[in-house]
Amino acid sequence: MSEHHIRDLFDLAAAVPDGAKLAVPADYSGVAMAATRALIRRGVRHLHLVCVPVSGLQAEMLIGAGAVKVIESSAVTLGEYGPAPRFVEAVRYGKITLKDATCPAIHAALQAAAKGLPFMPLRGILGSDLLAHRPDWRVIENPFEAGDPIVALPAIRPDIALFHAPLADREGNVFIGRRRELMTMAHAARRTFVTVEEISETSLFDDERLAAGVIPALYVSAVVRAKSGAWPLGLWNAYEADDAFLRRYATLAKTDEGFAQVLARWLDEPAMAAE
């Protein structure tokens, strides 16, 4: 850990500058919603959101709160709860700049950054209108076979990767288990901020079984404890999404007024443990 001055969600939100290229994971992976709330409270603006490879409530609320300038994602949806209304609205009125992608392209572009490469080739995509609307994606020739076109994706190097995990230790090592996309995000990003349910007093490297699923502190700039930090979303192996909240959200957020109401209530929720 390199940013020891970040000790709570307030510090964390203050350390995310306006205009940051912020990488966030999909709902199944561990979304730092408590930190997102702190970001909206601090009034963050002009974010370039990179969704790895899709997003839901997090992108939706940041967009609704006016915090997003650019969004790069393969999808934004509330899943079982239907479309993401603020995202749909922002698209219709051109309030955000879209960089529509496809899941493996976002993974590959992050892997390029993690390998210090300027680009990564990727199969597929050719003939998709995605390509037509992504002037930053190029088509090159496979150098080993004439007449074999292949897409080249420029590396995505996020300024900050932000996610929520079940466990970290005092050194800043973070357990992410099978959620390896979080490892790639941390390798690719300049800085990585993590919120966690619990902080272990012993090193995660003490248990060789655990070690295989650990992001080393070398890649982690700050860890902040946030109990239920993914709420109202769920966290794998820990807790489910808050069904009542998400139903209410999906209904209310269809209008500007309804969204303002649900956002205000969410921002007013009692402070979390670490705040």
Binding site: A26, Y28, S29, V52, P53, V54, S73, S74, A75, V76, T77, G79, E80, P83, A84, F87, V88, V91, R92, Y93, G94, L98, D100, A101, T102, C103, P104, A105, H107, A108, Q111, L122, R123, G124, I125, L126, G127, S128, D129, L130, H133, G147, D148, P149, I150, R178, R179, R180, E181, L182, M183, T184, W236, N237
Partner: protein, 250 residues
């Protein structure tokens, strides 16, 4: 076919599950993406019938998902040739098999915006047997030409493409996709529906045999499997679906 919970009659969902399971029989590894309870159930049904020969990876599941390399693994696995079947939907699907998961109107400020293309622009190229599955069968969905091509149904010669569309299943009918002619061909119409109804509600032209068969309904053994182990397994990922989609156990 209806939603009534009569144990001898399949619900609409059970019928679709059974039909999809038939389309993926014999596959070694079937992967199921997010928000796909019916394909997920179908894959679990096909696995139950395969006598241990089929693997199934259900995204979002802990118990039926053995990936350990993160979100990229499904895509890598497909590119390695280790995924035999996958499922894609579409806000629009056209007669050449192009699919649109982005929206209608002019990009980017679209009139109707859908979530986005997910992995379609990749998996449609790399998985040999892609099943297009969309319950709604209307001219709004099945169009002559999609407004936005998330993933194309056909590719230029020279484009690396071991995969592509294999079949299209809706609430009304089942189509095969002819990869030589890049057109759909009606294989069967579901019980209670007619070829005329299919023609009326399809925005693209398609081929059809002179006599169109009826899509077979699940036999009692299949229904018992669906309402038994399949329901239990899919409930892990889609509890609300599992509570609503199945008839009571026999």
């Amino acid at each position: 076919m209806n939603d009534a919970p009569l144990s001898e009659v399949a619900t609409r969902q059970e019928f679709l599950i059974s039909t999809i399971a038939g389309l993926i029989a014999g596959c070694g590894h079937v992967a199921v993406g997010s928000a796909s309870p019916i394909p997920g159930s179908a894959a679990l049904l096909a696995r139950a019938r395969s006598g241990g020969a089929m693997r199934v990876s259900v995204l979002g599941s802990l118990r039926n998902n053995f990936f350990t390399d993160g979100g990229v693994e499904l895509f890598d696995c497909a590119a390695q040739g280790r995924v035999d079947a996958f499922f894609l939907g579409g806000g629009q699907i056209d007669g050449e098999g192009n699919i649109n998961l982005v929206g209608t109107g002019a990009y980017p400020s679209m009139e109707v915006r859908w979530p986005g293309s997910f992995g379609s622009a990749y998996l449609y190229f790399l998985v040999p047997r892609v099943i297009l599955f969309r319950e709604e069968h209307t001219r709004r969905v099945l169009v002559e030409k999609v407004d936005f091509v998330s993933a194309p149904g056909k590719s230029d010669p020279g484009v690396y493409r071991p995969g592509g569309p294999h079949a299209l299943l809706t609430n009304l009918a089942l189509f095969d996709f002819d990869r030589g002619r890049h057109r759909f061909r009606l294989r069967s119409v579901h019980p209670g529906h007619s070829v005329e109804e299919v023609l009326d509600n399809t925005g693209f032209t398609f081929e059809r045999p002179q006599k169109v068969p009826q899509t077979p309904s699940p036999d009692p053994e299949t229904l018992a499997l669906i309402r038994g182990s399949v329901r239990d397994e899919i409930a892990e990922v889609y509890p609300r679906f599992a509570a609503a989609a199945f008839a009571p156990r026999g």
